[in-house]
Each structure stands twice: as structure tokens, then as C-alpha cells.
């Protein structure tokens, strides 16, 4: 391995953090210098990610690549162990890409109270936390990255957010912290039993917990991850956070942050505690499908466009969790596909909502009043396109993940009740009808019809250059992933087989 390969992953993770420092060194008045710094830092990190993707050995996606494993806190045996395999890679690339696009989008879109310098510094810090979470193979390191995400997001919501930002920010912070405390206890329990924080070692030699202890430890992990996903009934922080967060905050929250929870299940909970996972799986599946139906119903009741999309997010993550709960290769491939697809699609939906808000100064569906296809034809067409992607139209990215998730529920892993999971499958299927229902209803009320009088004389500009630059990659990827799903499945499958080997079948 050449030096650059040794350092590529570390660079991808820490270049943004370095960017944070650099930005804070930039004099307060020089806003554009701060923007350029942020663009360079995220751009270089993305380039490092692309380099990794190009050099990645796809025939061997189950083994760790670009690995660095050195002692870190020797007192507790924590190590700086980062690497990636076929499960991490798509999520790392997603994080790097979406953050880069967020910086581009932000160029002219800084919400009140402005201050791009600090805003971008926080976004970059957030990127290091997100990317790091997907590559950490040491539990303490994982935990540090995991928690690192909290503060920047707390400030993004709490400072640049909407009218009720303070409540939403604290709720986000405390709720996630509450979950991660249990997660940490579970980590420590593993360490206690197995004497290591190393995720690879723990996956190879599971800590030999007694069955009831294992269930409890899994419960700790479950709370930490499920709150982050978020799964019903731990989801109530999400709509508030999304409603109040600035556009870029919502995009990053939906596109990347939520995946940390689902990733945690796949990376840690399942491989380290396979037996407990089998016992928990039906319950996880149950919460997943309740979440699908419940969130879809809540979507029908929403008056705020952004809150509607936030609830739809909960439903879509239900499909991801259903895939994971089946403990099958099909299901977990579906889950990772679903994570990436949801990142592209819902990220894009939040971008669009932000741009709509910027033009109309409202997100109330009733106030928008329809006719956007007339007023802002390109923006409205994009909203329609991405809504169809979100409701699972084949040949777009939303379809393969949801299809495979339900497919896997038809035949869950050995030891899981086929009848139970087939019931889940049917419930999820009903959910897809509801999803189509609320999206089409939303489109009817926002896009279609005639332009209300109050907007007729208001001058509005359709999609601008920065928006095009930030959105075209997401749109193209939404299309490519739908037409050629192998682009993701080919990367994940090998690594997923490694995870599911423990579950037989």
C-alpha cells in the first residue's frame, strides 16, 4: 500500500475538520474566503473519497481496505482503527458528496443570522463526525465520531433554525444523547466481557454473554441506534428538528445522520450479538412496519411541506429497518441500498423545500396554494420527479431498496417466523399505497391547479445556477441507481454476506 493509500481514508475523514480550523482562522469580515475554504476542504475530501472508490478492490468487498490501526488511548486499549468495506464505502461517498453539495448550495442561501463563517465551520465539523462514524472500527472511536455529530447539528438548528429552534435543538440533542448513553453502556459491557473495543475482533469472536445479558446489551445498542434512525416510537425528535433546521441542516440530517443509526445495526449490533439479534428481529420488524403505516398516516395530516417530508422520512427508514430485521443478505443489501437512495432522494426533497420556502416565504401547503408548475416550472418539475422517486417508482432509486426489503420479508433468515414476516411484508405493501397517496396529494396541492392571486404578482426566479450545481448530481444518481442498481449492490453484496453468514440460510 502506497503512502497515499495509507492516508487516503484519514484524509477523507479529517480534511473537513482541518477546514473547520482554517475557516476559524479566516478573518471575520472575509466571508468569501470562508466559503472558498469550505469548498476546498469538502472538495478535497470528496476527491479522497473518489480516489478510494477507484482504488477499492470490489472483488473483495467483504474485507477491510484502506485500513489504519494504531494505538490511541492505550490506558483503555482504544485504538485508532479506521477502514472501509463494501458496507461503509457507499455511505462514506454519500456523506462526502452531500456535504460538498451543501456547501455549493449554501453559497447564496445563508439563513438568518447569516454568519457563513461559523455556519460552514460547523458543517465541516459535522462532516468529519459523519464520515468517521462510517469508517471507525473501534467502539470508542465510533462513539467519539458519533457524539461529534451532535454539537454542530445542535448549533445549526439552534442558531440558524426556525421560530421554535431552541426546543427542537435541545430535543434533538438530549434525545440522541439519551440513546447514546445506553449505547455506550452496551459498548462497555462488550469490552468488559471480550476485553476489546475492536469491532472486527468482536464480530469474529462474539463476547460470550449469557442469553439474557446478550438481550439486554442488544437492548442498549437498540436504543442508541433506533433513536438515531429514528424508529417508531422514538421518532418524535425528527419532525421537530427538520421543521426548525435550516435547509442544509435538514439535508444533512436526512441524507446522512439518520443512516448512522441503521449503519450501527448492520456494523455492530448484528455481527457482535447475532443470537440476540435473532430474538430482537421480530420486534424490530414490527416497529419498522408500524412506523411505515403510522408515519404515512401522519403525512396526510401535515400542513407544513417540510414536516410532511420529515414524517415521510420516518416511513422510508421503516423499509430500511424491515430489511435489516430479516437478517438476510437480500434484506441487508436492500437496507444499504435504501439508505443511499433515501439520502439522495430525501436530501433532494429538503433542498427543494428550502428553495420553495426561500421564494414563497412559507411552507404551508395551503398557503402555497398550487400552480407551482406554472409559477416555477423547473422547480416544480423537480419536485414531481423526486416525489415519484420517493414513492418508489421503478427505474428510480427509491424502488430497488423497497422492493428488495419486502422481498426479503417474504423469506426471512432461518429461525425467524415466516408467517410473522410475511405479515410485515403485507403491511409494508399497504404502506407503499399510502406513500403514493400522500405524495400525489401533496403534488396536487402544491404543483397543480392555478396560481393563487396572492402569488401572481410576486416575482420569483426559477432554479438558479448554484441550485443546479447542487442538485444535478443528486438527480443523475437517483436515475442511475434506479436503472442500474448493481452500482450499489455490486459493492455491498460481498460485505453483507460476511454479516449475514452468522444467521445461516
Amino acid at each position: 500500500m502506497s503512502a497515499i493509500e495509507t492516508w487516503a481514508l484519514t484524509l477523507a475523514v479529517f480534511l473537513p475538520a482541518a477546514g473547520t480550523l482554517a475557516i476559524l482562522l479566516v478573518p471575520k469580515k472575509q466571508e468569501s474566503a470562508a466559503k472558498v475554504t469550505a469548498l476546498i476542504a469538502t472538495g478535497l475530501a470528496l476527491l479522497a473519497g473518489i480516489f478510494i472508490a477507484l482504488r477499492f478492490d470490489y472483488s473483495n468487498s467483504s474485507s477491510l481496505q484502506f485500513e489504519t490501526n494504531v494505538p490511541w488511548i492505550s490506558a483503555i486499549g482504544a485504538r485508532y482503527h479506521i477502514a472501509l468495506d463494501g458496507i461503509s464505502l457507499p455511505l462514506v461517498l454519500l456523506s462526502l458528496l452531500v456535504t460538498f453539495l451543501c456547501v455549493i448550495y449554501s453559497w447564496k442561501h445563508f439563513p438568518e443570522p447569516h454568519n457563513p463563517r461559523v455556519f460552514l465551520a460547523l458543517v465541516l465539523l459535522l462532516e468529519t463526525g459523519m464520515t468517521g462514524t462510517f469508517v471507525a472500527f473501534d467502539l470508542i472511536l465510533f462513539f467519539v465520531f458519533w457524539e461529534l455529530v451532535l454539537l454542530p447539528m445542535y448549533f445549526l438548528i439552534g442558531v440558524w433554525g426556525g421560530p421554535n429552534r431552541e426546543y427542537a435543538a435541545i430535543k434533538f440533542f438530549l434525545y440522541t444523547l439519551f440513546g447514546s448513553a445506553f449505547m455506550l453502556i452496551a459498548f462497555l459491557a462488550m469490552y468488559w466481557k471480550a476485553g476489546t473495543f475492536d469491532i472486527v475482533e468482536l464480530s469474529l469472536n462474539n463476547p460470550g454473554f449469557a442469553k439474557s445479558t446478550a438481550l439486554l446489551v442488544f437492548g442498549g445498542l437498540f436504543l442508541g441506534f433506533a433513536i438515531k434512525v429514528p424508529m417508531f416510537p422514538f421518532h418524535t425528535w425528527l419532525p421537530d428538528a427538520h421543521t426548525e433546521a435550516p435547509t442544509v441542516g435538514s439535508v444533512l440530517l436526512a441524507a446522512v445522520l439518520l443512516k448512522m443509526g441503521t449503519y450501527g445495526f448492520v456494523r455492530i449490533a448484528l455481527p457482535v450479538l447475532p443470537e440476540a439479534a435473532r430474538s430482537w428481529a421480530p420486534w424490530i420488524g414490527l416497529l419498522a412496519v408500524i412506523g411505515i403505516i403510522y408515519a404515512s398516516l401522519c403525512c396526510f395530516a401535515q400542513k407544513d411541506l417540510k414536516r410532511l417530508i420529515a414524517f415521510s422520512s420516518v416511513g422510508h427508514m421503516g423499509f430500511v429497518m424491515l430489511g435489516i430485521a430479516t437478517l438476510t443478505p437480500v434484506g441487508i443489501n436492500a437496507a444499504i441500498f435504501g439508505m443511499v437512495a433515501h439520502g439522495l432522494i430525501t436530501g433532494m426533497l429538503f433542498f427543494l423545500t428550502g428553495s420553495i420556502h426561500e421564494r414563497y416565504h412559507t411552507r404551508e401547503i395551503a398557503e402555497l396554494g398550487g400552480g407551482m408548475l406554472k409559477k416555477l416550472p423547473i422547480l416544480a418539475s423537480l419536485l414531481a420527479f423526486i416525489s415519484f422517486a420517493s414513492l418508489g417508482l421503478p427505474a428510480l432509486a427509491g424502488f430497488p431498496g423497497e422492493f428488495m426489503s419486502m422481498l426479503s420479508a417474504y423469506n426471512p433468515a432461518p429461525g425467524l417466523s415466516t408467517g410473522t414476516f410475511r405479515t410485515f411484508m403485507v403491511v409494508a405493501g399497504v404502506g407503499t399505497v399510502l406513500v403514493a397517496g400522500y405524495f400525489l396529494w401533496m403534488l396536487q396541492r402544491v404543483n397543480l391547479g392555478t396560481v393563487p392571486e396572492r402569488w401572481e404578482s410576486t416575482e420569483m426566479h426559477d432554479v438558479n445556477g448554484y441550485e443546479y450545481a447542487a442538485w444535478i448530481p443528486l438527480i443523475l444518481l437517483t436515475f442511475i441507481c434506479g436503472v442500474y442498481p448493481q452500482i450499489i449492490l455490486g459493492v455491498t453484496d460481498g460485505a453483507v454476506r460476511g454479516v449475514t453468514a452468522a444467521f445461516g440460510g
Binding site: I76, P113, G158, N411, L440, L448, G449, T450, G490, V496
Partner: protein
């Protein structure tokens, strides 16, 4: 020269497919293309690809292109039609089916392959779809000339055609499902073409959601068959089903679930409610999508997977009653009755389409594969003709309602004569297309002792003749009741009508007894063949049609029927009310399902969310905050002594540097939380050491 063309075609195709395998395969076969026994079949992919290319060109460059972008669709479909005709003659000449593989991918241990399969059935569908689509492309040049979003209309028309062809050509269920859903979204876009008016966009939503309910069933059916056979491959699944390789119970579940998709897409009872509303779209769309092509996707699905259905339901002479047969039979009758009372000419044709689709489904349900497929073929011709004819009339009188029409035969002779031919073909007048295909279905049902299907089929045939006579009488005879001066439509519209009228006369004879051309070209290997000719069935069918026509003339043309029957006779009045309210099915769905989900259940769920689930969260939050604050106060005072205050102050400064928006309290909570976590971590780490 031919070789050069062939290799350039193959290069283009592999570029399009983007798969190395395809490139290799095409390289090997490059020389064989265009001169092998199934050479033109190898161009089938091009027929599918062309409309997609046309779609993209129209969408992105349409407004700056000749004919406002219509040129791409017209060219793509024209070329597609020529290739399809060449393919048609090739399979008619006995060419072997051609199978084209694209790429395979792995979804967690299961290999999924994509590809096209061109056999005589596919090729027949290609011919129908490209022909009708091409004619609709031409016709719309005039019909849509002054309408909004002309370019987008053409783009979507092309996308629809490509998706339909993709579905028809698929060699596997997954890819078929992709095409199946894509035609659905095109249908949504085109039904809602005039989306300024809310009823139109609501009709589009209704169509999408209703068919999606069916699609979910179909998707589960695909799952069942996939796990039973270990593949999505249609040939593989059907082969296994026919040879008994799939347990009967599983096969039955799979077939029934697939059939739910048919009920949605092919507008069968009880999900037929979307199709009449779909008439909100422009009339050429109704002709193409909601009469001739997309709605027969369900028929195609059953016919394509007929081994699955035949084995699952034990179809054949003397077989038991089954869900396919029952649903088809109910549908043909209830829809024909609804067609009787419509004033909107397009709704007459829409219910007629539902009814005829019921005919095809019932035919499949009794095992009459060839008859069903043949009826699909002939129906496409005369129903597209009728819709385009109605469009010509609507174009002239600016109303959909027959109460605004009347006496148009003089002003619109071409439209009148072609419409009359289409109606006669639909009514089953001997010698025309509908007669032969309908007769075959009745004949098959009668001969195999499915007397219920035969009886309802006869009744429906009579009703069909009756409502079409009513329709023609109200539209073209009597006095003109509308406004303005209607005149014949331009050539671009009448020429397609003439072409379809000629076909409506001639295609029936493709399967004329004795010639049996159609049944030989397009045959299903497992079909039970019955006696070629049955005078009872034929006479009964002809008589039913004749009775219907005479009754129609008596009531609507000669006007000899007693007037005011509806007012005087209570059962007539009740029946009329029932039909005018569409059997109250729409009310049931809207009031029983849609509104509750939209407005009640959703409110309940959201109330639970805000008051109960979030109530608990907030309650815990408040209590924890209080407890922590007290604990921290205690810590602050007794243990740490000022440390927390420092942290809180620092956090406060950090926040203040950004903006002083937060109350000091909020920052304290955060500080408390951070400290609490830190304390927890330190404590545990200490303990572990």
C-alpha cells in the same frame, strides 16, 4: 453494406445497454443479424429503445425542434412500426423466437437477469402498440395543435410507448413489473394533462392509487413465484409450473396475487372505478392507453404466464370455477350495464372497454387463450378507432356529451362511417373483427360447458350492441343539439380513422374458420383445442347482437319505445338510480376508505404522535431536566464547585458569539447534559479499569 449496418447497429445497441456481455454477444452475431431466420427479431430492442430516445429528445430539445418536438416521437414510432411489421411477417413465416440477454446482477444470493424475449405473441403486441401509438402520434398533431403543453404531451406519449414495449418484451417478471409501473406513471401524467382543473388531477391520482393497490398484489405474486422457482425468469417459472415443480398451494397463491394486479391494471371489478375517470385525459390518450394498450397489460400478464394460471386454477374443459373467470364475467356485465346510461360519449366507450376487458379475462378464465389474445388484438383496432372517432366529434362540437351532439353524419361523413364500422365491429356484426373474436370466446365457453360464462357473454353481447346503437343514434342521427357549426376534422385525424376502420373490417378474418391463421401464428402450446366450428354458439352470438341492435334502433332511432318508463315503473327507476350512481362503489371507496385515511385516521395518528408519544418524551424531558438540574446544583455546590458554571459560561459565550438567541436556561441544560455524559463515561471507564 448490410454487414456494416449490422455492426453499427450492434455497436449502438451495446453502447445503449452498457454491458460488456451484450457487446460480446452482438460482436459474435453481427454477421448473422439481418440474414438469419429470425434476423429482424434481433432488432426488437431497437423498437423499445427508440421511443425512450424520442422521449429524452422531446423533453430536453422539444420546444426548439421542428413540429414543437413531435417529430421525435413520430419518427421513433414510425421506424418502430416498420420494424414491428417486418418482425410480424417473420414470425408469421415461422421464425424461431429470439431471446436477448442484457446483464445479470446479484441481490444477495439470487441472480437476476434482464433481457428481452421475442416470440410471436410479443411481436403481435409490438405490432399493436406501435401501430396504434403511431396513429395516435399522427392524429394528435391536429387534435392537440392548440392545446397546452403540446411538447410535454408528446414526450410522455413516447415514454409511455417505450415503457409499454419494455413491459411486453421482458423475459422476466421483475423487468416486466418495471415497465408495468412506468406505464402507470405515464397514464397518471396524461390523465392529469389538464391539471389546472382539480377534477382532472384527482382523476389522475385515482387511477394511480387504484392501480397501485393491484400492483402491490402483483408484486407479492412475483415474490411468491420467485421464491418457488428461484428466478424471475418467465420461461423458467412457467416451465416449472407446467411440470408440477411448484407445490399447488404456492402456485395458487402466486397466481391469485398476480391476478390482483390484473384487476387493477385491466380495470376489473371491483377496481374498475378508475378507468371511466381516466377519460379526463386528452382523447388520443384514451385511445392509446385506456383502450388499446395499457389496460390490456393485465390480459398480457395472464396470457404470458399462462402455465402458472392454467396449472393453479386447473383451467380447461370442465375445470372448476375460478377467480379469473368469475371476475371477468362479473366485470363484462356490470360495465356493459353502466355503459347504457352514460351521456358522456367517452364514458360509454370507457365502460365498454371495461366490459370487453372482462370478456378477455373471462376467456382466459375458461382457458381460451387464443380467443382471449385474439380479442385483445381485434379490440385494440376497433376501440382505438371508436375513441379517435369520438375525439373527432368532440373536437367538432366542443363537448363530450351526447346531449350536445346529434345529426353529425352529414357534417362529418368520414368520422360517421368509420365510427359506424367501429361500432358494428364492437357489436359483433358478422364479418367484422369483433364478431370473430367474440364468437371464439363464446364458442369455447359453450363447448367446454362453462354455461354461466356463455350466458352472461351472450347477454353482454346484446347489451354491447344496444349501447353502441344508442351511442351512434344519439351522436350521428336526429337533430343537432349543440352550439356552432360542426365540421369534419382535418386529414391528420381522419386518415388514422380510415386506417383503423379498414383494419377493423379485415383483421377478424385472420382467424377465420378454416384459415386459422392467427391461431397458428400465435399459439399457446398447452391450449386445449376444441372443435373448429359450432353453429349453436355462432347463431346465438349473432342473434344476441341482432337483438341488441334492433332494440337500440327501436328505442333510440325509431323512438318507438313507450316514453317515460323510468318515471312510471319503479324497478326501472331503481335500476337507473343504481346505475347512475355506479353501484355506489365510488361512494363506498371515497367515504369508506379515502376520506377516513386522508382526514380522520391521519388526524388520529397525528394526535397520538403529538399528545401521547411526544407527550411522554416531553414529560420525561422536563422531569429529567429538573432532576439533573438539582443533581448538578448539588454537584456544583459540593463537589465540582464552579466547574459546571465555567462550562455553562463557555457554552454561553460560544452561543453568544453566534447570536444571543438562547435563554441562559437552554445553555445550562446542554451544559448539564454534556457534563452528565462526561461524568457517566468517566465513571464507567474508571470502573472498567
Amino acid at each position: 453494406m448490410v454487414g456494416a449496418l449490422a455492426s453499427s447497429v450492434s455497436v449502438a445497441s451495446s453502447a445503449l445497454l452498457g454491458a460488456a456481455e451484450a457487446a460480446a454477444e452482438h460482436g459474435e452475431h453481427a454477421a448473422a443479424v439481418l440474414n438469419g431466420p429470425n434476423s429482424t427479431l434481433k432488432l426488437g430492442w431497437l423498437v423499445v429503445a427508440l421511443p425512450f430516445v424520442g422521449w429524452l429528445l422531446t423533453l430536453f430539445f422539444g420546444k426548439r425542434s421542428p413540429m414543437r418536438g413531435a417529430i421525435y416521437g413520430v419518427t421513433a414510432l414510425g421506424a418502430g412500426l416498420l420494424i414491428s411489421i417486418a418482425m410480424f411477417f417473420q414470425v408469421a413465416g415461422g421464425a424461431a423466437p429470439y431471446h436477448q440477454k442484457f446483464y445479470t446482477f446479484d441481490i444477495g444470493g439470487y441472480e437476476v437477469s434482464t433481457g428481452f424475449s421475442f416470440d410471436s405473441f410479443t411481436v403481435m403486441m409490438f405490432a399493436v402498440v406501435t401501430l396504434i401509438s403511431f396513429l395516435v402520434h399522427i392524429y394528435s398533431l391536429a387534435y392537440m395543435k392548440d392545446e397546452v403543453r403540446f411538447t410535454f404531451f408528446y414526450a410522455t406519449l413516447s415514454l409511455f410507448t417505450g415503457s409499454m414495449l419494455l413491459m411486453v418484451a421482458s423475459d422476466n417478471l421483475l423487468q416486466m413489473f418495471v415497465g408495468w409501473e412506468l406505464v402507470g406513471v405515464c397514464s397518471y401524467l396524461l390523465i392529469g394533462h389538464y391539471w389546472e382543473e382539480k377534477p382532472n388531477s384527482s382523476a389522475a391520482i385515482k387511477a394511480f392509487i387504484t392501480t397501485r393497490i393491484g400492483d402491490v398484489g402483483m408484486m407479492f405474486g412475483i415474490f411468491v413465484l420467485f421464491f418457488a422457482a428461484g428466478t424471475f425468469d418467465i420461461g423458467g417459472i412457467n416451465g416449472l409450473a407446467a411440470s408440477g415443480g411448484i407445490k399447488h398451494g404456492i402456485l395458487l397463491a402466486g397466481a391469485t396475487l398476480l391476478f390482483i394486479g390484473v384487476i387493477g391494471k385491466s380495470a376489473q371489478f371491483p377496481l374498475h372505478v378508475w378507468l371511466p375517470d381516466a377519460m379526463a385525459g386528452p382523447t388520443p390518450v384514451s385511445a392509446l392507453i385506456h383502450a388499446a394498450t395499457m389496460v390490456v397489460a393485465g390480459i398480457y400478464l395472464v396470457a404470458r404466464n399462462f402455465d402458472v394460471f392454467r396449472t393453479a386454477f386447473a383451467l380447461g374443459p370442465g375445470g372448476p370455477a375460478n377467480v379469473v373467470m368469475i371476475i371477468g364475467t362479473i366485470t363484462m356485465l356490470i360495465a356493459a350495464l353502466l355503459a347504457m346510461v352514460q351521456d358522456d360519449i367517452k364514458k360509454v366507450l370507457a365502460y365498454s372497454t371495461v366490459s370487453q376487458l372482462g370478456y378477455m379475462v373471462a376467456a382466459l378464465g375458461v382457458g381460451a387463450w387464443t380467443a382471449a389474445v385474439f380479442h385483445l388484438f381485434t379490440h385494440a383496432m376497433f376501440k382505438a378507432l371508436l375513441f379517435l372517432g369520438s375525439g373527432s366529434v368532440i373536437h367538432a362540437v366542443h363537448s363530450n356529451n351526447m346531449s350536445d351532439m346529434g345529426g353529425l353524419r352529414k357534417e362529418m361523413p368520414v368520422t360517421f362511417w368509420t365510427f359506424l364500422i367501429g361500432s358494428a365491429a364492437l357489436a359483433g356484426v358478422p364479418g367484422l373483427a369483433g364478431f370473430f373474436s367474440k364468437d371464439e370466446i363464446l364458442h369455447f365457453a359453450f363447448h367446454n360447458h362453462y354455461y354461466a360464462v356463455f350466458g352472461v357473454g351472450l347477454l353482454t353481447a346484446a347489451l354491447t350492441a344496444l349501447y353502441m346503437t344508442r351511442c351512434v343514434s344519439l351522436t350521428f342521427f336526429g337533430e343537432f343539439r349543440g352550439h356552432g357549426h360542426p365540421h369534419e376534422s382535418p386529414r391528420l385525424m381522419t386518415v388514422p380513422l380510415v386506417v383503423l376502420a379498414v383494419l377493423s373490417v379485415t383483421v377478424g378474418s385472420l382467424n377465420f374458420w378454416g384459415m386459422k391463421g392467427f391461431g397458428v401464428w400465435i399459439a399457446y402450446a398447452g391450449e386445449q383445442h376444441v372443435a373448429e366450428f359450432d353453429v349453436v354458439a355462432m347463431l346465438a352470438g349473432t342473434a344476441a347482437g341482432a337483438i341488441g341492435i334492433l332494440l337500440g334502433l327501436w328505442i333510440y332511432y325509431w323512438k318507438k319505445a313507450p316514453q317515460g318508463l323510468l318515471d312510471r315503473v319503479a324497478p326501472f327507476r331503481w335500476a337507473h338510480t343504481l346505475l347512475m350512481n355506479k353501484y355506489y362503489l365510488d361512494d363506498l371507496y371515497i367515504k369508506g376508505i379515502v376520506r377516513p385515511v386522508q382526514y380522520s385516521l391521519s388526524k388520529v395518528a397525528y394526535w397520538i404522535n403529538q399528545k401521547i408519544i411526544d407527550g411522554v418524551v416531553n414529560g420525561v424531558g422536563v422531569m429529567t431536566r429538573k432532576a439533573l438540574a438539582e443533581a448538578t446544583y448539588w454537584l456544583d455546590q459540593t463537589v465540582v464547585d464552579g466547574f459546571v458554571n465555567d462550562v455553562a459560561n463557555e457554552a454561553g459565550e460560544a452561543g453568544g458569539a453566534l447570536r444571543r438567541i438562547q435563554t441562559g436556561k437552554a445553555q445550562q441544560y446542554v451544559a448539564v447534559a454534556v457534563v452528565a455524559t462526561a461524568v457517566l463515561v468517566i465513571a464507567v471507564v474508571w470502573a472498567v479499569r
